[in-house]
Amino acid sequence: MSKFEFSRRGVLKSATALTAGLAAPTIFTSSAWAAGYTNEPKGGTVTFGFNVPQSGAYADEGADELRAYQLAVEHINGEGDGGMLGTFSSKALTGNGVNGKKVVFVTGDTQTKSDAARASAKRMIEKDGAIMITGGSSSGVAVAVQGLCQDAGVIFMAGLTHSNDTTGKDKRANGFRHFFNTEMTGAALAPVLKNNYGTDRTAYHLTADYTWGWSQEGSIQKYTEALGWKTASAVRTPLGAGDFSQYITPVLNSGADVLILNHYGRDMVNSLTQAVQFGLRDKMVNGKKFEVVVPLYSRLMAQGAGDAVKGIFGSTNWHWSLQDEASKAFVKSFGQKYGFPPSQAAHTTYCQAILYADAAQRAGTFRPSGVGKALEGFKFDGLGNGPTEYRAEDHQCFKDVLVVKGKENPTSKFDLLEVVEVTPRAQVEYPALLLGGELGPYNDGA
């Protein structure tokens, strides 16, 4: 069906373009293909654009995001068991699509590169008529695509992006983030570290040398130093270094007794595995057991690190072992369809799709400013993270943060992390001004 949809839209587009070409001056106004707002849906369907990494290091994470999106679309359209729609506090969505239109979707490959991600988002906007873009697995891509969506006049619902900048320095009115950020990780993790490792510790940071890494390093440093920890050294490592041994050996005799790995994805898998290989976790320094911390965890990546994750603290946006009704409903829905539990990437993208659809339904329009207004300050519950608010000032969701630990005796290859603490939302909240940036006005694209 969507195939047919394709060509029909293509013909329409040619026709518009042809008219534009004949009426020479109008083609130079750029609004030749824009209506009231960018891609205002005309027929019985509305198109969502799912922009996820399908190649490169995050391809598996992207595949999981795509699974969640498909599930979300089914639920919005009233197919399947409804998943978290049953537990979601807003009851605007009735399984009848959005604003009376059936949701269809198009997909694209971000390749985890800003250029490719923007090209693929543009295709979905310009060619496929996507009303919104969502997805992604890195902050660089999120910021790049968010900027694009602002310019094009569509809503961007960020996927997995953890850097402060997405809703800080680089925030945009048309962009919204459900996922948490490094600031929250720092605030949530610090008390747990204090309870387990005490206040007299010296930390050594290994940090991926790009914006997210620095952001993470800064937050952890800020919150741990507030506890009384010292920072021995913060070393930047090249992205994709592969073998981190040359960065790990200096840790051995540095006098530090905690190693903080501000790495994600493959870097995290490699640096953690290698740190354990170098016997760091069996070491005693200053009369204390040496510890390793991975501030941002991902179950998919934990799988790659194997046994190395056992007993290591970190934070995560959501985990499938949570026992609230919403999480259970989501895990059940996802697990029955795909045969394994969803990752946090799948969860956040599912939520984002639902949240967007719900906001559009409540606003009664797909106009970006209308949807945005409906999301601003929106308080909800029942999506697996407890009571949550989309803060109006920076379009960042505020909710509880999970502190997790690598499980000592996993029962399956999915059961790698255990939740040790649910840090309440109040503890991770910060003033919007802290991270700077300017939302600017909504762009409807007309």
């Binding site: 040619s14 750029s30 030749a32 090209a119 543009k122 295709r123 790009y210």
Partner: protein, 376 residues
Amino acid sequence: MPTRNDMLLLTGFVAVVLAAPFLFEPIGAGYPDLLQKFAIFGIFAIGFNILFGLTGYLSFGHAAFLGVGSYTAVWTFKLLSMNPLPAIVLATLFGGLFAALIGFISLRRTGIYFSILTLAFAQMSYNLAYSVLTPITNGETGLQLSQGDPRVLDIAFGRDYGAVLPSSDLFGLEMTGYPGFYFCGAMLIVCFYIALRIFRSPFGMMLRAVKSNQNRMNYTGLNTRPYALTAFIISGMYAGLAGGLLAVTDPLAGAERMQWTASGEVVLMTILGGSGTLLGPVIGAAVIKYFENIFSAFNKSMLGDIFSFLPESLQSGAVSVASLFVGEGWHLTLGAMFVLIVIFLPGGLMEGIRRIGALARRKKPGGGASASTPAE
């Protein structure tokens, strides 16, 4: 005054560029962003071909010049004006300057040693742009416009974009969508025309001589190094322009544009289309960008629709086989295509076109004479 064949070639080229939105619509490539990419990477590949196709120097670091062009253009937007003209002029200039610097050193060596030198310089640029040079490049996120940019020329001429983030515009004509494509398309035509002149000129002949036999060239009284360096700089300027245009149509410059994979991509575009031919690189660029953007967009549900005519039992099999090649498997199709083309069409896609042309001529005597030499 170019020859009649060249005039035909040029006219045809202009016609295709102008009609591109309609021509490419049936294959799903008629939307502005992809058309812009066709034009921009076409320019990049044409420029690369002036170096590689003519002199035979295989640079593995041309993406560095593309990146420099992009960064220059975005900085021009930020500091001077949102008008694309200063941006692309400066981007071309800086691309050329950077190429002069790297070329001057790298051209001291030939063959693979030259390739590795260019690769090393480009990788250094990439790694530094990603990390240490973040104040200039904004690192992983990429250099972006912001509302607080000075834009002194715009201010001087009384243009104020207010609270909205501006996009590049040519005296009020926004460089997004189809106008953006036609701007790039015009640049592509100019670049193609310049390349045509170079190909047909004594200078182009000298560049071919560099590829053919440098020893003989030296003993013929010709100094090979400045010829190679000039070609290197010209292709660096083309790359800088392409990078500038990327920023014009989409004002963001990311470091990964300089990575070796990006340099490798232009090599592949050129060889795939047919190195040393005029049209080949443009075709190669379009094919690769098409695969990247269109083949990657298929997903299982679309495939399911395509194969819905099959009985249920066959359908899932067909979908799973096909999904190996599209969607997340689009790289596989690309790789397989490289292998097949280089085996069966050693001269790249242009050789395929030539063979078809020859076949058509044989079938229809005298009919296709004017189309006899589409390029080289």
